[in-house]
């Protein structure tokens, strides 16, 4: 390959090799943290033996001593409430994002591959839904089916689906004109087959990006909804409702709201970091097809071994540059991953300051 490509790949590899040990450390830390959250979601009782509902004798105790995070007005241990309060939040946000992903990908695929009439109708419906704020959708749904985790899941799912669908549809449209998708058509591949075999795997990067940025927003939205009383009802522990309950006594008993708030912040940060990290694992462009799932295996050098690097091309295509023909990159090992879209416009971002916690 051309020297410029080697230099570019070298620059990338330099960056990567410097952080190779750092990346191994990151992988270990990430896995541990994600495991903690998994346990929190599934079995919060492992972290604390005190029940969050027990009314104790020690009202409004400061943090420290027997109660790590203090107690509330009814003597309940805040630490225990924070630990148990993770469950509804995580369940709601993850469930909502999962629902939105499945629905968004399906709708996006349909919108990108269906005949023009169908796709126009579908995408315009999606656009209309995109215009509705999450809160409105949540209120409507909850008014219909009642408050609780399930309604938040549904609300998040419906609210995020349009954004996902738009991103997926745009990517599908650009993928359809790539040669290997057209080649599938020449082989006699049906539309569905092409979608599953070619489009979906190559959408993975976009989907992971979408999901990773959405989980953070979903956590925020879920806690907002429960802050407003639309989620889990008291006395069940929940970060959002606990935050609301302690909001009035911030000056006197600051620990009532602060610790749930901190928990929310940490969770969103972890969600974002986890998204970045998963994204780096899944990129096909680097020469690490065998290290893809070896999470702790570290990186191989990103320059392929000399035997496999067999440059064979001049720096650009020759004279077929019509106005519609884009000279392609000729560097095999320097393959840039599929276009990563910018931040997805999440419906939750439209909340005004009044509605935010």
């Amino acid at each position: 390959m051309s020297t410029l490509a080697i230099a570019r790949a070298g620059r990338v590899a330099r960056r990567q090799s410097r952080s190779r040990s750092r990346q191994r450390l990151t992988s270990v830390v990430m896995v541990v943290v994600l495991l903690v959250f998994l346990v929190l979601l599934v079995h919060p009782g492992s972290f604390t033996s005190v029940s969050p509902l027990d009314n104790g004798d020690d009202f409004l105790a400061s943090p420290g001593g027997a109660h790590l995070f203090g107690t509330d007005q009814l003597g309940r241990d805040i630490f225990s409430r924070v630990v148990h309060g993770a469950q509804p939040v995580l369940a709601a946000s993850l469930g909502g994002v999962l629902l939105a992903t499945v629905a968004g990908v399906v709708i996006g695929l349909v919108g990108g591959t269906a005949p023009r009439v169908v796709s126009v109708v579908v995408m315009r419906v999606v656009d209309v839904l995109l215009a509705l704020p999450v809160l409105l959708i949540a209120l409507i749904l909850i008014a219909t089916i009642g408050a609780g985790v399930k309604s938040i899941v549904l609300a998040l799912g419906v609210a995020y689906t349009p954004g996902f669908a738009r991103v997926v549809e745009a990517s599908v449209r650009s993928l359809r004109s790539v040669e290997y998708v057209q080649a599938a058509k020449i082989f006699g591949s049906s539309g569905v087959r092409t979608a599953v075999r070619h489009l979906l795997p190559n959408l993975m990067t976009e989907i992971v990006v979408m999901v990773s940025s959405a989980v953070g927003w979903a956590v925020l939205t879920a806690t907002t909804l429960s802050f407003l009383g639309l989620g889990v009802q008291l006395p069940e522990p929940d970060w959002g409702s606990d935050l609301a309950a302690g909001a009035t006594s911030l000056s006197t008993a600051w620990w009532l709201s602060t610790f749930p708030g901190l928990a929310i912040t940490v969770t969103i940060l972890v969600a974002n970091y986890a998204g970045d990290w998963v994204m780096t694992l899944i990129d096909p462009g680097r020469a690490r097809s065998r290290t893809r799932f070896r999470l702790l295996g570290g990186l191989r050098s990103s320059l392929p071994p000399a035997a496999a690097v067999a440059p064979g091309e001049p720096a650009s295509l020759t004279a077929t540059s019509a106005a519609d023909h884009v000279p392609a990159s000729s560097n095999p090992a320097d393959h840039v991953p599929a276009d990563v879209p910018g931040p997805v416009p999440m419906p939750g971002q439209g909340l005004t300051s009044q509605e935010r916690a």
Binding site: S2, I6, R14, L303, G312, E313, A315, T318
Partner: protein
């Protein structure tokens, strides 16, 4: 020449004076895999009024040599040894500020791809003005505009005043390159470094741009460094040639001397592997086995030794020292080609397959694919609200037959519609009018179920192999995919087929588990071919199969295509802009211009005696790798290709045709057979 330059600002350059002298230049780029040395001891000089051509394949370091003059090196790269003297001034120890003053003012660069080298969000005029005002601080906008117009007319841009307001995407490729050259010439540099300036352009425009550069060189007394991989371009436009391989100049000589008497084995191998127009199409091409070296941590040895069939032990152990054959001709070979050896027969790499006829057995038979007055129109969505919708006439009324067992070549420049014809044959596009028939059945508009059947008969090899292979699939999956799509065979059978084809295209079996991006361009093209053959099609349409590959790799792929044609009894339709390639590969050639088929006949006849003026102009524009031929070459094509949205009335070529008359504007000529199998669409066809 320029009235806006301050008088006596710098001394005039006398013709013949050495403008640039590079001595033992070494450039290093640090990578985690080792130190890359793209320029490893390069020495040459450029005089005013002289064009020095640097020839090499990718990975030879030719671009880095050009860029290192101005220290436009990639990050991590630096000049570690040697000197670069420009008009007596040493450049390697200049401060960044002094270098900036030098760039554009005294030394200018023309890059390869004007579309990415020009800012798409600014007009040409604004970019010209910016370049001018950097070096002439204090000049007004009006002065800059005046100079811009002056320099645009110097590069023969039509209607320069209007061009100032145009954006790059509104210009054609040739005009963009002229704009780039204009930007380079704004301050009348003494040295111009042209890095593959015409590779991305059509053949006829290429000839115009190269001729322009020659003319400007004489008028402005510049020295030019012309970096290219095309020996034909070198033959016609370079005074002196340096052949680079593995970061070193392996041979340097005046052009005529190099072509008449190449000494280094690499130069000899390059000449042998080019499908020039005189090549005997029955012979396989002499390809250079292997691939160019990566320039990382190479031990002392002749860099070409691993691929050289004349290499001996001493070639692999020590760096060869320069040998001077005569004044101006040096090379780096320990066992050079003896002088006077006939380049054609005795040394040619034509071992066991020397005189074997590579054409499939039997003469071409019945028509297999028939295009019946096929038309393809695209509707352009016009941003203007009240303007009527316009159509792009990509293909207009093309009728041709593809005979069984033959190789049909379709040649044309960009915008000719040749790719669209290929796509209509395999069913990626449905013709707006007319029909495509295979074996008598109409295959142009098929239902989904019927399309399956067509896949077994017609396949396509795409131009861009990196985009044609799914980056997430292994090679085994890629090759077996057509079988999966057609629900043919069990898993083990498909695997066996994949193995069989990987062997047939010359790839190692270990390749089956790798992914496409781990291979080079030539290897990817082999994978694409294996994939195209797995359904045993009768017809393979190859869209520019080798245009993105180096010359030595091209020869490998072409030989492979030939042998596969024999083994699998294939019929090829090869679409290309490269005439010399089709001359070698095709039995019959069709020439397309702006959506019309203008000539169709046996390839030998079409080249030896073209009937249509466009074909004649195309042949004249192709740079022939023979310096002597350029003296007698006729004029190439003038002007630009017309718009396909609004094609000229009557004969579409009449706007560029030297023989056009009123009849040509009124009446469109039909493709008529004149004298047997050679058809031409012209009112005044050229006679032999």
């Amino acid at each position: 020449m320029s009235t806006t330059l301050p008088v006596a600002r710098r001394r005039e350059v006398t013709p013949g004076e050495t403008v640039l002298a590079i001595s033992d230049l070494r450039v290093e780029i640090g990578t985690p895999n080792g130190v890359v040395r793209p320029v490893d001891g390069v020495t040459f000089s450029v005089r005013a009024g002289e064009t020095v051509g640097i020839v090499g394949e990718s990975g030879s370091g030719k671009t880095m040599t050009g860029m290192s003059v101005l220290q436009l090196l990639p990050a991590g790269g630096s000049i570690v040894a040697g000197s670069i003297r420009f008009c007596g001034q040493e450049l390697t120890d200049l401060s960044p500020a002094a270098l900036r003053r030098l760039r554009g003012e005294d030394i200018a660069v023309v890059f390869q791809d004007p579309m990415t080298s020009l800012n798409p969000t600014r007009t040409i005029g604004s970019q010209l003005r910016e370049a001018y005002r950097i070096h002439r601080p204090g000049s007004t906008s009006a002065e800059a505009d005046a100079r811009a117009v002056e320099v645009l007319s110097l590069v023969r841009m039509p209607r320069p005043q209007e061009r100032l307001r145009d954006f790059p995407h509104q210009l054609s490729g040739g005009m963009r390159q002229r704009a780039m050259i204009a930007i380079a010439l704004l301050c009348e540099p003494r040295l111009l470094i042209a890095d593959e300036p015409t590779t991305a352009l059509d053949v006829s425009i290429q000839a115009q741009i190269l001729e322009l550069l020659d003319d400007l060189k004489v008028r402005l007394g510049m020295g030019i460094i012309l970096v290219t991989h095309d020996l034909g371009v070198i033959a016609g436009h370079a005074d002196k040639v340096a052949v680079m391989y593995g970061g070193r100049i392996v041979e340097e000589a005046p052009t005529a001397e190099l072509f008449a008497n190449p000494r280094h084995r690499y130069t000899q191998a390059l000449f042998e592997s080019m499908p020039t127009m005189e090549l005997d199409s029955r012979r396989p091409l002499a390809s250079i086995p292997g691939v160019p070296p990566t320039l990382v941590d190479l031990p002392p040895m002749c860099r070409f030794a691993p691929r050289c069939r004349f290499a001996r032990d001493d070639c692999r152990t020590a760096d060869p020292a320069p040998v001077e054959v005569r004044a101006g001709h040096t090379h780096l070979c320990l066992h050079p080609r003896p002088p006077g050896d006939d380049l054609d027969d005795s040394e040619r790499l034509a071992p066991a397959i020397s005189a074997e006829d590579l054409r499939p057995a039997g003469r071409p038979g019945r028509p297999l694919v028939r295009l019946d007055v096929v038309e393809k129109q695209y509707r352009i969505k016009d941003p203007g609200a009240f303007r009527p919708r316009r159509t792009l006439h990509a293909v207009s009324g093309v009728s041709l037959d593809v005979l069984e067992g033959e190789t049909l070549g379709i040649v044309g420049e960009s915008g000719s519609g040749k790719t669209t014809v290929g796509r209509m044959m395999v069913g990626l596009e449905a013709p707006t009018r007319g029909a495509v028939r295979f074996d008598g059945h109409d295959i142009s508009r098929l239902s989904r179920a019927e399309e399956r059947g067509r896949a077994g008969n017609l396949q396509l090899m795409f131009q861009d192999s990196s985009a044609a292979l799914d980056p997430r699939m292994t090679v085994a999956d890629l090759i077996a995919e057509p079988l999966v799509a057609q629900h043919l065979g069990s898993r083990s059978e498909r695997r066996a087929k994949a193995v069989e084809l990987v062997d047939a295209v010359g790839l190692p079996r270990a390749a089956l588990e790798k992914r496409a991006h781990e291979f080079s361009g030539g290897q990817r093209q082999r994978i694409a071919m294996a994939r195209a053959l797995v359904l045993r099609p009768k017809v393979v349409v190859a869209d520019e199969p080798v245009s993105a590959l180096d010359v030595s790799i091209q020869a490998q792929i072409l030989n492979l295509m030939r042998s596969l044609q024999r083994a699998y009894s294939l019929t090829y339709v090869v679409i290309s802009h490269d005439l010399s390639l089709l001359r070698y590969l095709a039995d019959r050639i069709g020439v397309m211009y702006l959506g019309k088929l203008v000539e169709l006949g046996p390839s030998a006849e079409v080249y030896a005696a073209p009937r249509h003026p466009y074909t004649a102009g195309l042949i004249a524009s192709v740079p022939v790798p023979d310096p002597a031929a350029h003296r007698q070459q006729q004029a190439g094509l003038s002007g630009e290709i017309a718009s396909a949205v609004d094609p000229p009335s009557g004969c579409r070529f009449r706007t560029r045709c030297p023989l056009a008359t009123d009849l040509c504007a009124e009446q469109e000529p039909a493709l008529v057979a004149r004298g047997g199998r050679h058809d031409v669409a012209c009112h005044y066809p050229l006679t032999a």
